[in-house]
Symmetry: C2
Subunit: 293 residues, 2 copies
Amino acid sequence: MELIDGKKVSQDIKKEIAEKVKEIIGAGGRRPTLAAILVGHDGGSETYVANKIKACEECGFYSRLIRFENDVTEAELLNAIKELNEDGEVDGFIVQLPLPKHISEQKVIEAIDFRKDVDGFHPINVGRMSIGLPCFRSATPAGIMMLLERYNIPTSGARVVVLGRSNIVGKPVATMLMQKGYPGNATVTVCHSATKDLNAICREADIIIAALGQPAFVTADMVKPGAVIIDVGTTRVPDSSKKSGFRLSGDVDFEKVAPLCSYITPVPGGVGPMTITSLMNNTLLAASKAIYK
Amino acid sequence: MELIDGKKVSQDIKKEIAEKVKEIIGAGGRRPTLAAILVGHDGGSETYVANKIKACEECGFYSRLIRFENDVTEAELLNAIKELNEDGEVDGFIVQLPLPKHISEQKVIEAIDFRKDVDGFHPINVGRMSIGLPCFRSATPAGIMMLLERYNIPTSGARVVVLGRSNIVGKPVATMLMQKGYPGNATVTVCHSATKDLNAICREADIIIAALGQPAFVTADMVKPGAVIIDVGTTRVPDSSKKSGFRLSGDVDFEKVAPLCSYITPVPGGVGPMTITSLMNNTLLAASKAIYK
């Protein structure tokens, strides 16, 4: 069993990005800039945004943080998005989700200029990804693809079972893996709450991508010996032995499943760091006009 | 075994659409209008467009046909699209594919205002479909959904195998069937040229959707008794006994497979007529501003 070290891959890629940024600056170019809009003070969101800002520093990007309180109106938020759309010094930006209930997340996502939508959530980017056209790919599935690639995990003709059909992980990673090319060309099955005989379906998988947000859902009896396990789950589970009062749990019963696998991602330190690194990669692509002119 | 009579369902739906058009006109509304751009004189394209115009008549729509010769420039075609985008009397329009090689189909598709894109090929409509938002759904997969619905075929928890990963059938029908709701909630596997053990995978399917364009590809040994077979293939096969010199062949070995099935679509007369009916349905949705304002 080999551990897929997302933390290391993530560091490697950030270093590669930093090198490219040096080249851009050396050639007289402008430093890539990522902006983030953060509404309120949710603990998880604060952490994510802080990590994104830190990653920007590692990559040599400028970052900007625009904060609003929870009582911001939708109109104020849309106005801030409009300003970022029009700001020639901002290459890409994200609006950290979730948003307060009085604001339509979908309206917010669609207000972002798709050419700056480095989260890859805008319907144009989702549609272009599905058709197989150049686009900003959603960060978590793109991060999974990078991990498979860096570890040279064979995917052509592989049976892949995706657990979960979310818009930000399950559906896009399924689409990416069924398309031609590498990583891709896999035979993908998407499972969810209505799936019957889930255990039997999982046992046929060469690669399982678990993205349901249910701690330790994937147990040893669901895994074919030699399978590759990508664990996207990161649920906070109460744990009084930790200073924070919680620990992060993946969707996989790691202790029992790991000995069976050829490769497995740990939680934390697997897919998690790759999500932010993917966002950095999209920001570099935006700054270098590699996708849209 | 019950035959899924796409021709009849298609007639029924067109009658329902015609009733709604009568109501619109009765209420003082404008008659829905579909326009089609046809480049060149390809036999298949001529037939499709003629059938679309005929369907418009059955539904009580106005139709417009804009013809260009094969030597039309991309700029001329894009200009015609711009005019249709801006024409307040045209609710929706299509550009019949394929186009001559000197014209970029993708550029043409993306030039169509997504609010008039009744073929559902624009990335915005593809993306919105994938996310599960209201949109113009691509005609053939939407037609398949209508057939499943009209025949009350259970899909929740069903194992569905989609053969083929095209942008216009395989990928979108897989996405539609995995989403919540009915028809949907299925466990979908997408197979293609790189899939291994295809026969075994197909034999587990409660529903097979064959969309590869390979005559008689699905044979009896690939089908579980009682399965539902949706045959999307329509390949012209030379046949000297026919006046036209060819017959249409589906992707399924109908004679051998049909006795095993609970339901099966014939070719012709199954999915084929539904594609055009779906286009009519999208045109009605466009005219009544049901998707976009």
